[in-house]
Symmetry: C2
Subunit: 195 residues, 2 copies
DNA sequence: TAATGATGTTAGTTACCGCTAACACACATC
DNA sequence: GATGTGTGTTAGCGGTAACTAACATCATTA
């Protein structure tokens, strides 16, 4: 079962994920996957018994849910502008890693609803962390006292919007780079726009 | 070609759109559509020659691109808080109308990229309108002078995030109601969070 | 050298699906 | 009562795709 050289199993998974991201699980055929990973159809079936098995193995390999809480807590310095930039960047980086799973989850949400759970969990965890952070900042008098949970939700929704828009439509909705977007949004989030 | 009573043509389109939203164009069969609209398969083919024809007719019937510019311009009173709430609500309402097309566009973005164009156009137009509005507000000294285009982009991304999250994942990401979300976000957008 | 294991090739099975054709029925209008 | 229109039913064609089975090849390794 070992793959010498480049690793046949991995090549198959990589190709499968790439194709399924682009066209959806149902539209990708074993033939496509075989051609893209430069093996015969039979080899695909020998490694992963069914088409769905290929997807499950790919999800297994590529889904990633790190300790966002630790990352945030270890780098926070209780300066609103600085910390929000850090959190926004961490969230976007995390989503970027899971982009492949996200795109497949979108297309297969009717048939494989558990997939989005993997990603939703990250967002939910970060929402908790961010809410706690806001509460701490409010206690320290470094931030206006408002509904921390709603505030955190709004903050994350903005970056979810950025990520989702980029992942699904590339630059068709949003053309700003990640850095530009974070800069604008964190600044606005801190200072507001009213005079 | 007239449909007496409930309108066979319409029943087919409604069922088709509903099914395709949920499962994607490719996964829905004519058999599914026929069963859901309570006609025979042949009747579907007699009304719309091909499966793609069904989708095209449904898109035709359900896509909607109104004069957002006029709506905004006629109701703006140059009070930042008031106007942003109006614009946010208008945008979300518009997206809600086009939800069906949006969901199909998501699933068929590889095969039918023109679909998302219908919706992207709305967002682009509103971005233009909103940018102009910000510039006017800046001239009148009612708003901080920043990059109006980026600011508008950020604002719309937030609501795109809200809509997209709700349309794709229901309350799995975001649980706030539309009114709550608009209230929190517009307030933050205007006032900021720093002390 | 012999055995092993990963892969390729070819052929075929099964099932589904888009779509067509032909015929039948029911109803409404002329 | 004839005609037409919308529909149902049944059968089938052509294509495709998941998956299986059997056999061949080649390289590594015992």
């Amino acid at each position: 079962m070992d793959d010498h050289e480049t690793g046949t199993s991995d090549r198959i998974l990589d190709a499968a994920l790439r194709l399924m991201q682009a066209k959806g699980f149902k539209s990708v055929t074993i033939k496509d996957i075989a051609a893209a990973s430069d093996v015969s159809e039979m080899t695909v079936f020998r490694h992963y018994k069914t088409k769905k098995g290929v997807l499950e193995a790919a999800v297994q390999k590529y889904s990633y849910t790190p300790g966002l809480k630790i990352i945030v807590e270890q780098n926070v310095v209780y300066d609103l502008n600085h910390d929000l930039k850090l959190i926004a960047a961490s969230y976007l980086d995390l989503m970027e890693v899971n982009r492949g799973i996200f795109l497949i989850a979108v297309q297969e949400r009717a048939t494989m609803p558990e997939l989005i759970g993997l990603i939703a969990d990250n967002t939910k965890r970060l929402h908790g962390v961010l809410t706690d952070y806001f509460l701490t900042m409010q206690e320290r008098g470094k931030m206006a006292v408002t509904d921390a949970s709603k505030q955190a939700m709004m903050f994350l929704t903005m970056y979810y919007g950025y990520f989702s828009s980029r992942a699904l439509w590339d630059t068709q909705f949003i053309s700003d780079t990640q850095e530009e977007f974070i800069a604008t949004s964190v600044s606005t989030f801190c200072e507001g726009l009213a005079t």
